[in-house]
């Protein structure tokens, strides 16, 4: 709990990070969504509206993963040592970190959804809000665990850009966040089907707009598996951290 509280205080005091984390998805929505949306509509709805849950998911992915990978810096600065030297099992520290990431994630998704409802005619009711938020948290927990896992394994922040190119962008671009899956060529469909983020996007789009590809049960099942795998691997990686 102490670790979680620390993460939250740090987030609220790092204004640049907090502001940029909300502004970036807004730019995507306005410039990309409205721009492309001017000439395209998907399945009878406005393109901007269609990608809105996808952009939410993108935000969850990037924020959570970067947040997790941030432990590389903590390692360099001995901040992590201070936490790991405490007489607590390592999984407690890992859980605190993961929950910290999740809190930040919930905060951002809430702000974005409210803005979406106010300015982009996103149909938001208390119920759709709640389901979308829960979906984003489930996916966010997996993404934060993946980030923490990578962060614990990386030895220097130099590899960040590699992770972006080979993990984050592929996950995002093959998730169906920006286009419907149904019309894709076969090879792309395969990539989408094995991408856990696709299920996150589907769950959030379903909850918010009622458009489903896989259905809520399959979405939640795959995401739960995604969370379980990386939560396990992540806390294992924390267990094996050798700092010196």
């Amino acid at each position: 709990m102490a670790v979680w509280r620390r993460e939250f205080i740090v987030y609220t005091r790092e204004r640049e990070r907090a502001v940029s984390s909300v502004v970036t998805p807004l730019i995507w929505l306005l410039a990309f969504g409205a721009g492309l949306g001017a000439s395209i509509s998907v399945a009878g709805i406005n393109y901007q509206e269609f990608i809105f849950p996808g952009i939410l998911a993108m935000n969850v992915l990037f924020t959570s993963m970067f947040y997790g990978m941030y432990v590389v810096w903590d390692k360099k600065l001995d901040v992590l040592k201070e936490i790991l030297i405490a007489p607590q099992p390592r999984w407690v520290a890992f859980t605190g970190k993961a929950l910290g990431g999740l809190t930040i994630c919930a905060f951002q998704v809430t702000i974005l959804m409210i803005m979406g409802a106010l300015f982009m005619s996103i149909p938001l009711t208390p119920l759709t809000f709640l389901f979308t938020l829960l979906g984003s948290l489930l996916f966010g927990l997996g993404a934060a665990s993946l980030g923490l896992f990578i962060g614990a394994k990386l030895s220097s922040p130099d590899a960040f850009s590699l992770v972006m190119s080979f993990v984050m962008w592929p996950l995002f671009l093959t998730s169906g966040a920006l286009y419907p899956i149904a019309n894709l060529p076969a090879y792309l469909q395969v990539l989408v089907h094995v991408n856990p983020m696709a299920y996150g996007v589907d769950l959030m789009r379903g909850a918010l707009l009622g458009m489903w590809t896989y259905g809520p049960l399959l979405d939640v099942g795959v995401l739960a598996l995604f969370v379980a795998v990386f939560f396990y691997l992540g806390q294992k990686a924390f267990e094996q951290l050798n700092l010196g």
């Binding site: 620390r6 740090v10 005091r13 901040v79 007489p87 010196g244």
Partner: protein, 323 residues
């Protein structure tokens, strides 16, 4: 039973052996120094004792608990001040302490009092609600020391406690460390590459080089082993064999060596015998007398001096600046 007992502790990173079969025992209430250049393996040794790093082989017990099998018990009994700056700069000093107190499971009803005491000890009470990021280097180090004391550890590890601090602040920190050892009878282990720090603070010092302990004694004992003061003579003319032979016969001269352009002598009680030495050499241009120092001892045992600052320190400073 000693508070810390280490037997043939070894850590390898690939081909590099950072700590090479170290055995030690440290008694309760001792201030024990690990003195050696950067990269000698001091921090690695501490990290293993603090269960941050697993040893490749060997064993150690800290406050009665095995570092391999009783990690949690070891962590409960130790406090550690790290080299690289481990404060949360965005939190206030008090919040940093509160975080630590709850991580270390200090009972809730004791927390406020312990934090107050720790702040008083390092004289930061009136700045406690400022962000740690606004603190000077010396204040940060003091806060880190205060933090390490909150859970009343039996053993305190200090990794280069005064690196990068100005001389005045260093003396301040030394005073705190001495106060702790006396008032709390805490066992303190510190690493340093500053001779005078080890000399002034420590009850015993282990000279460590390339992962091995090359010598272990009290500061006085180490200096005594050196056998005397160093005298450097720059002769007017190159010294002949005869002069060298004559000097070697003098009983208080322990050794004579010719180094580039000068003679390096080791002399018992040099100030007293200087006259006789000069008589034996003849005309000299310069005389330097250096009282025995740990640096000489280190030089004698390892064949190289302890460098002062290094790239490693710069890297640390660089990281700290980024926060």
């Amino acid at each position: 039973m000693p508070t810390i007992s280490i037997s043939s502790l070894t850590k390898r990173f690939g081909k590099l052996t950072a700590v090479d079969g170290v055995s030690l025992s440290i008694e309760k209430g001792e201030i024990f120094g690990l003195l050696g250049p950067n990269g000698a393996g001091k921090t690695t040794l501490l990290s293993m004792l603090a269960v941050l790093m697993e040893p490749t082989s060997g064993d150690a017990r800290v406050a009665g608990s095995d570092i391999r099998t009783q990690a949690l018990a070891v962590r409960k009994s130790i406090g550690m001040v790290f080299q690289g700056g481990s404060l949360d700069n965005l939190l206030t000093a008090r919040e940093n302490l509160e975080l630590h107190a709850s991580l270390f499971a200090v009972p809730k009803e004791l927390r406020a009092r312990r934090i107050q005491e720790a702040l008083e000890l390092v004289e930061l009470t009136d700045r406690a609600d400022e962000r740690a990021g606004n603190y000077s280097g010396g204040m940060k180090r003091r806060l880190e020391i205060a933090r390490a004391l909150l859970h009343h550890p039996q053993v305190l590890f200090l990794d280069e406690p005064t690196v990068g601090l100005d001389p005045q602040t260093r003396e301040h920190i030394w005073a705190y460390i001495k106060k702790l050892a006396q008032a709390e009878s805490m066992t303190i282990i510190l690493t340093t590459h500053y001779m005078e720090e080890a000399d002034l603070l420590c009850d015993r010092i282990a000279l460590i080089d390339r992962g091995k302990i090359v010598q272990l004694d009290t500061p006085e004992g180490l200096k005594r082993q050196m056998g005397g003061d160093r005298v450097k003579l720059v002769c007017a003319k190159a010294c002949g064999r005869q002069q060298l032979a004559r000097m070697r016969k003098l009983p208080f001269i322990k050794s004579v060596a010719q180094e580039d352009g000068h003679l390096a002598l080791v002399v018992l009680n040099a100030p007293k015998h200087l006259q006789k030495i000069l008589a034996a050499v003849g005309v000299v241009e310069e005389v330097h007398v250096l009282p025995a120092s740990l640096n000489d001892v280190f030089l004698q045992y390892t064949g190289h001096a302890i460098r002062n600052e290094s790239a490693e320190d710069d890297a640390q400073a660089h990281w700290a600046a980024h926060r």
